[in-house]
């Protein structure tokens, strides 16, 4: 390393560079004229206003990109244990349970002879309909995910929980045994949803599935016979076992009472306070 020689080499290269610069100065006059022409144009045009509107497409594109990046990606699921999977239907054969594992770690066990349908795999609002039979459910809680399970007219909203779920479409009997967490059950019979806590059980039995004027009424032959015998049961009575049988013939009041009643855990089943007296 020789600093003096390095300096001399640098100086020689600088000399060469200066020659190049000097040669390029032949354009000096033309460039000056061009500069002054552009200067005059600018002065004449006045200070350029910032074209904020030109940012609009860029902002729009950015917003679209953000939305696209944050779009809810679909959950995926895999079925284990054999059985039959046809499209979104998962059917467990007799004598064999199936496992359904979702990409958010939610797990379902479809009991033998049961069938469910994965209706939606939206990351924020996935939906599963139990067509028949039983399923054990373990939903992993995610802040922006609201699982929904359906069985006939019942809708069970879940955040994070573990429960067993049965639906018999022939008898129209629904049974939900909540093991952990909480769920919210909506039925067409009740104005407000029923909230279940861990350890509680919800059973519903529609044995006379008829609607009249949009309201569920005992219009089936057996129920008509019962009504004729003066034994017509109210909707609530038919609907929810273990619940109070309130004033007969006043289904709306029954529904409201059921909806507003506080559920109390009693031996793993839910009851409405005062049910015993009513019974």
């Amino acid at each position: 390393m020789n600093p003096e020689r390095d300096e001399a080499i640098a100086e020689s290269l600088a000399e060469l560079t200066r020659a190049v610069i000097e040669h390029s100065e032949r354009h000096q006059g033309a460039t000056r004229a061009a500069l002054l022409r552009r200067f005059d144009e600018r002065v004449e045009r006045g200070p350029r206003r910032r074209a904020w509107w030109a940012l609009v497409p860029a902002l729009g594109l950015t917003a679209a990109l953000v939305v696209w990046l944050q779009r809810p990606s679909a959950l995926t699921y895999a079925v284990s244990g054999g059985g039959e999977r046809s499209g979104s239907y998962v059917s467990a054969p007799a004598g064999q349970a199936l496992g359904v594992s979702f990409s958010d770690h939610t797990e379902l066990v479809v009991e033998p002879n049961s069938q469910l349908r994965v209706e939606a795999t939206d990351q924020h609002a996935p939906r599963v309909a139990l067509e028949r039979g039983s399923a054990r459910v373990h939903v992993v809680h995610r802040p922006q995910t609201r699982w929904k399970f359906m069985a006939g007219p019942f809708e069970v909203y879940v955040t994070g929980t573990r429960f067993d779920f049965t639906w018999d479409p022939a008898r129209e009997v629904m049974d939900l045994h909540l093991r952990e967490g909480s769920v919210e059950i909506q039925t067409p019979l009740l104005a407000s949803p029923v909230v279940l806590r861990a350890g509680q059980r919800f059973q519903a039995d529609f044995d006379a599935p008829q609607y009249d004027h949009g309201r569920r009424r005992g219009a089936a032959a057996s129920t008509r016979a019962e009504r004729q015998r003066g034994q017509r049961r109210t909707r609530a009575e038919r609907c929810c076992r273990g619940a109070a049988a309130p004033a007969r013939g006043n289904s709306e009041r029954t529904a409201e009472r059921l909806a507003s009643a506080e559920l109390a855990q009693a031996g793993g089943r839910w009851e409405i306070p005062g049910a015993a007296e009513a019974r």
């Binding site: 001399a8 080499i9 020689s12």
Partner: protein
């Protein structure tokens, strides 16, 4: 009847000879150019065009974009003149603007090289001085060597050795400390000395130059 000073038109009475623009100070020129004074911009060009050209050509070599970049540097002054805190620091302002332009152009070349528009990153049809073959090869070798320096070293070399700026001016133009500037320059000189050995045409020129000057 002679016109009374009271009846005389104010514009005629107050008209004064303008100070020739070429004798105005930098601060005044900047203020005038900001107000759209064409003559002031012309004088600024006459004063500093060689300096700005030296920075741009020194860093970028003979490039067809130089003339446009020159204009852009001076028009940037017109745009930024009003917000200049020290209007007297015109020279430093123009050097910094030229350095920024040159650095931006170097980055553009790098991108062009990456995207494969040009193998060297240079624009085609570079106007080179009309020299003999040996000198042309020497010039090409010079810019190949400079190309190997980092952006900061290349700028430091041009500002200090080619343009002869003070160490403080170089540091200010590169927005680094004086000691960092010294280190960068030392490294640049060492790197250049090593690179020159790999370019026979350039090495021949350097050896001749060093021998003529009687340097070690």
């Amino acid at each position: 009847m002679p016109a009374s000073p009271l009846t005389e038109r104010p514009s005629e009475r107050l008209r004064v000879a303008r100070f020739p623009p070429e004798r105005r100070g930098d601060a005044q020129l900047v203020a005038d150019a900001a107000d759209g004074d064409r003559a002031a911009m012309g004088v600024i060009w006459d004063r500093y065009a060689r300096l700005v050209r030296g920075v741009l050509v020194g860093v970028l070599g003979p490039d067809s974009a130089i003339e446009d970049l020159m204009q852009d540097v001076f028009l940037a002054l017109h745009k930024g003149a009003r917000s200049m805190k020290d209007k007297g620091a015109l020279r430093a302002y123009l050097i910094q603007t030229a350095v920024r332009s040159a650095a931006f152009e170097l980055r553009k070349r790098k991108v062009r090289r990456w995207v494969g528009l040009s193998p060297t990153g240079d624009l085609p049809e570079v106007p080179a001085p009309p020299l003999d073959i040996e000198s042309r090869e020497t010039l090409r070798a010079l810019y190949r060597v400079l190309e190997r320096l980092s952006e900061r070293r290349r700028l430091a070399f041009v500002l200090r050795h080619v343009q002869g700026l003070e160490m403080l001016e170089v540091a200010a133009a590169l927005a680094i400390s004086e000691s960092t500037t010294r280190r960068e320059l030392t490294s640049a000189r060492q790197q250049l000395a090593a690179l020159v050995r790999r370019e026979p045409a350039l090495a021949l020129y350097v050896d001749r130059f060093v021998a003529e000057r009687g340097a070690p």
